[in-house]
Symmetry: C2
Subunit: 427 residues, 2 copies
């Protein structure tokens, strides 16, 4: 199928065939869901042994009784778990509660309202504050900015990460830009891994950006490989050390898609100065994190090898689901002008770009046919995809046959929406 | 001992005797600690069975898989646990993470920065914001206000709660007062339980206060009775309903001093409007709380009876420690003019008021003699006890013989500091 050069007659014929296919799907009264970027019950089962693991031993390696108050920045062994996940030094890690999103909010609140360095460094002192958002991206990042009144600027994603020419020119032109969101490995939703050159250029942004610039490096999928030959993400921490910009990046991760989602442990990795500023804030709002849950996690995943073996089991469950999505997309759209997508080898999503102006209609058609997709636009700041193209596909929760069934609906809806729109544009 | 009427010669004699006693204590090279308002290891043991309790059953009563994301305001059975602790309806409860202090910070941040009702209701719109702080009180409450730049005004505590005449006159005179901290049962540190009249008058503050006034009702010790005949705290929720002021109070509690401190579950109880405003904020910074820990707690403490039976075991461990403190104080100071104290029948503290200007010196003398006390002034906003009188005694962690030993030192230091100061004042 090539719509751009198709005649009206050809388009009409396709429209008629696709409408027939779509009607047949409607008759099936499906109820499938590709919206949720969360682990399946089978994946969660992998960590059920955590309950009861402590066997009455609540004492950490350094003698800390994890059952009592204190320890604002986490147990040493929990810092090491964070270091294993994020590929950083344990000394740079602070261990939080159950949510990396909460840590991101708290660090951004600190930077905006109180200052990560001191009160003079607070972004709010400078009036307008803007953040660069590689798009498509993660809607919860945007919500954090919106809550704090930080304006968001779209930056296009490429197959090697954010378009760094655009990033650098924005930053040089506008000193109110105080940071950028990044999901550097298996980016949500495109699945892209930032190239070494991209990581290098991001590490150097601190040299050209205005004071108190911070990259929020959400390494949510750092160990979420679908293959043992996974691409390796360059170390942003090492790169910033080389360039003297260590304070310009704050990293985040959690065990939410490693053990039990929402009942895990979250981490910040940052320079000593950033950690000190953040801990000053934390001290105003907590006595300390849940250390029992920390020790439960460190006993369950005591080494990097144990961690990677555990992630291998997730991959076994996720791989056939990703295969089902990518096979369906390839079969339907290879060699066509109906859409574009990356082929992720990790993470939780496949991101599909329709022809201009077809995403909303595709999502609507799929919903009517009983297949829920993430709302079109959700992957853009303010929910506004300026070209109405991007759709996020999340295949982890449904069974493989369900993914296959949902993708049949999806490709039909993409085709039908595309053909109708092309016909309308020629009318 | 009555210092006010004592002659200089008598004071000199006492000084000499007390100095001798103090020197004897110094020679013992003690190392005791009365600073920490946290459970002892024995108390923590009471909840060790929580680990392994789930036996592979992670499904909540309503079918929720607690191992996965979601459920911003908590499981129904966890709301009921909160309701059992706080003596409110489950419908008014939101279940948070491990820390009620974090919930207090978040609710105050929401009220200050974003508005609990809407953005127009944010306190920051009104310039100066002030909070009433019954003193002595809890230092972590003051830190929250300080972090947000909210000015604190001292209100004296009485044996029935905050001095309500003072509270009401402040509120009538100053519309920038936006709330008040309260620890209504076994107040930190005085151990006082607010009288029915105090609760009633606090419930009516919403009628005389300026818009968006909120009492922060930190019911941290609601079930922490030392006796089965514990005093009953009147229901502030019911009282506010009667007076049409339900939005003017937000309540907090946690299981931190019920199960494992810092690894428990925290709760907010509030009106539907306040909960809606707070959830809007929460949605910007978390996917949801740790529901596995919630279900772990609800299985461990499934009913109010189970909860109270569990608290009875805490009381068995705490009672001899409180007895040791109160016996020592009574023996040393009954009938003297050296100090005043309440006799708490619950909570974690005994609060002792020295003669004016003697608290710091008492704490210093005790520290030199190897007995750590909470720094004098810590129970006041900005760390400033204007009369330098209050000292917080926390007897839960040391053994009973240690409490006895520490109190011997304490009373000697109080006496020595008092006599020296009286001598100086006569010089």
């Amino acid at each position: 199928m090539q719509l751009d050069n198709a005649s009206v007659a050809q388009l009409r014929e396709w429209e008629s065939q696709l409408t027939e296919q779509y009607q047949a799907i409607l008759a099936k009264k499906l109820n499938l869901d590709l919206t949720r970027g969360k682990p399946s019950a089978e994946q969660l089962n992998l960590s059920d042994a955590m309950d009861g693991l402590l066997q009455g031993n609540y004492i950490a390696a350094d003698g800390t009784d994890t059952r009592n108050y204190g320890g604002l920045d986490g147990l040493p062994e929990a810092k090491q778990l964070g270091a294993n996940i994020m590929d950083v030094d344990a000394a740079n890690v602070l261990v939080g509660g159950n949510s990396s999103l909460t840590l991101m909010f708290q660090v951004m609140l600190t930077a905006y309202q109180f200052g990560l360095k001191d009160s003079a460094s607070a972004w709010k002192n400078e009036g307008d504050v803007k953040f660069l958002c590689p798009v498509p991206g993660y809607d919860r990042h945007y919500t954090v900015c919106e809550q704090l009144g930080i304006k968001m600027i779209n930056v296009p994603m490429t197959s090697t990460g954010p378009d760094m020419d655009v990033v650098e020119s924005f930053i040089k032109a506008d000193s109110s830009i105080k940071g950028m969101w990044c999901v550097p490995k298996y980016s949500n939703p495109t699945g892209v891994v930032y190239s070494d050159e991209t990581v290098e250029r991001i590490a150097k942004l601190g040299q050209i950006a205005s004071a108190n610039f911070r990259v929020f490096w959400d390494n949510a999928y750092s160990v979420h490989d679908l293959s043992p030959n996974a691409p390796k993400l360059a170390s942003i921490l090492e790169a910033t050390r080389r360039h003297g910009t260590e304070d310009s990046v704050v990293q985040f991760a959690s065990t939410s898609k490693i053990t039990h989602a929402g009942s895990g442990v979250a981490f910040v990795a940052a320079s000593a100065a950033n950690l000190a500023g953040f801990k000053k804030f934390l001290n105003s709002c907590t006595i300390g994190p849940d250390k029992v849950n920390q020790i439960r996690h460190t006993r369950f995943l005591p080494t990097k090898d144990a961690l990677m073996a555990h992630m291998g089991k997730h991959a076994e469950l996720l791989n056939p689901r990703f295969d089902a999505v990518l096979t369906a997309l390839g079969k339907a759209f290879d060699g066509t002008d109906l859409g574009a997508w990356e082929k992720p080898v990790g993470g939780y999503f496949v991101s599909f770009d329709t022809r201009k102006g077809c995403a909303k209609e595709t999502v609507r058609l799929a919903a009517e046919a009983g297949v829920k997709l993430t709302p079109a636009g959700a992957t853009y700041p303010y929910g506004k995809d300026p070209e109405d193209r991007n759709i996020r596909i999340a295949p982890s929760v449904p069974t493989v046959p369900e993914v296959v069934g949902a993708m049949e609906v999806f490709v039909t809806c993409v085709k039908l929406a595309s053909v109708k729109q092309q016909l309308a544009s020629l009318a």
